[in-house]
């Protein structure tokens, strides 16, 4: 497969959240605002790329029988790094994301890429795959964050968009939990209607 294809596949065609429907918990929980969604996406991308790198480099020496616990340990190392770095450098974001930062470790997207891709492919391809899947995840969370923050809070990254009157009484339901389910449901329906046929 060509290098560009490896990257774009995870970004659009096999988008983790909107097409494959994995990694749903952080996608729904942290997409109430653009900043949270984008921050969560980048944190998961960081873990994904570095775990892909290490797993790809170690793919010839990891015994097949114990590969899953080893992958989990490698992933949890990078989760701990991002957990403590975010706590130190972005305390506001860390507060907003809460328990979902350490929970990146059980994001099936990351273990899935380790098992299905990085443990079988070369270093360069695994990095490209991690970048594609990670940015696809970030893209999905940011799109949801934009929709929910603009409608539910009347702002975009904290800047008022539809004027002060809407800012005072927005569709609050969108930033609460029902809004998350509704937005992803409608996005998925639109994808089924307009995109899926072209993909398959």
């Amino acid at each position: 497969m060509r290098k560009r294809e490896i990257f774009t596949r995870g970004l659009v065609k096999e988008n983790a959240v909107l097409v494959l429907m994995i990694g749903l918990c952080p996608a729904l929980a942290t997409s109430a605002t653009v900043r949270d969604g984008f921050g969560m996406g980048l944190a998961a991308t960081f873990v994904l790329i570095f775990s892909n790198v290490i797993i790809s480099l170690m793919r010839k020496i990891v015994p097949n029988e114990v590969r899953i616990p080893i992958f989990i340990l490698i992933i949890s190392t990078f989760v701990t790094i991002i957990d403590y770095s975010m706590q130190a450098f972005q305390p506001d974001l860390y507060q907003a994301l809460g328990v979902f930062v350490p929970l990146i470790v059980v994001n099936c997207m990351i273990l899935g890429r380790a098992e299905a891709y990085a443990s079988k492919n070369s270093l360069i391809n695994s990095i490209l795959d991690g970048l594609g899947v990670g940015f696809g995840f970030t893209l999905a969370l940011t799109v949801m964050g934009v929709i929910r923050e603009v409608l539910g809070n009347g702002t975009f990254l904290g800047i008022t968009v539809f004027g002060e009157a809407f800012r005072q009484s927005p569709v609050i339901f969108m930033i609460l939990s029902p809004g998350a389910f509704l937005v992803i449901g409608i996005l998925k329906a639109l994808i089924n209607k307009y995109v899926k046929k072209e993909i398959s």
């Binding site: 918990c25 616990p69 929970l103 099936c108 339901f173 939990s177 029902p178 998350a180």
Partner: protein, 194 residues
């Protein structure tokens, strides 16, 4: 400090793990096709969640805190839960065949269920003692069981409903979950819990 009864109600209804905290969504959508499978999954979650809360409480307070190894929390908890699930599965298979046949096949799925790991982290973050941690885990597990079983009942009906083909499957399930979450928002403020 909140009383155990309030912690239970908060975990069970007000801050429902699936609809309000967004944890355990994979089994919520994946294993809720029939009421029967949803019941098995719900039972397995309640059981493992309580055990995991006990074990990780012991690991955290007896090993990680005294040795100043709190930064290893993520790695130790996930490995502890993974081995706990394996152990429970083998134990049930050998000694409690009926229980095993009811929830055995759901146990391996639980290892990567973020609800279990999430509850053990929340227990630590909320600085719960042993009793409150247990109550929180049981309440959360029951809350999970309640919504997954009702949601499965909803989905059995949805499968037969005449709807637009592009809404079939996931999209309509998400929209149904949105309506359930809206109903659960009604619980917020109950007994002053938020």
């Amino acid at each position: 400090m909140k009383s155990p009864a309030l912690i239970f109600l908060g975990a069970f209804l007000v801050n429902n793990i699936v609809l309000m905290r967004f944890l355990g969504l994979c089994p919520f959508f994946g294993v809720s096709t029939t009421v029967e499978t949803a019941t098995g999954m719900g039972m397995a979650v309640i059981f493992v969640m309580t055990l995991a809360a006990w074990i990780t409480y012991g690991v955290f307070h007896a090993i990680l805190l005294p040795l100043n190894l709190v930064f290893l929390r993520t790695a130790t908890f996930i490995l502890t839960i993974a081995s706990l699930v394996q152990l429970v599965e083998m134990f049930l298979k050998k000694y409690y065949r009926t229980l095993y046949s009811a929830m055995g096949i759901y146990l391996p799925l639980i290892t990567t269920n973020c609800a279990i790991l999430g509850v053990t982290f929340l227990n630590i973050d909320n600085k719960f003692n042993f009793l409150n941690g247990t109550v929180f885990a049981i309440g959360t597990g029951l809350g999970f069981g309640l919504v997954i079983i009702t949601f499965a009942a909803l989905r059995e009906r949805l499968d037969l409903a005449p709807i637009n083909p592009s809404l079939r499957g996931y999209p309509i399930s998400f929209i149904a979950a949105a309506l359930m979450a809206l109903a659960f928002l009604g619980f917020s403020g109950l007994f002053g819990l938020t």
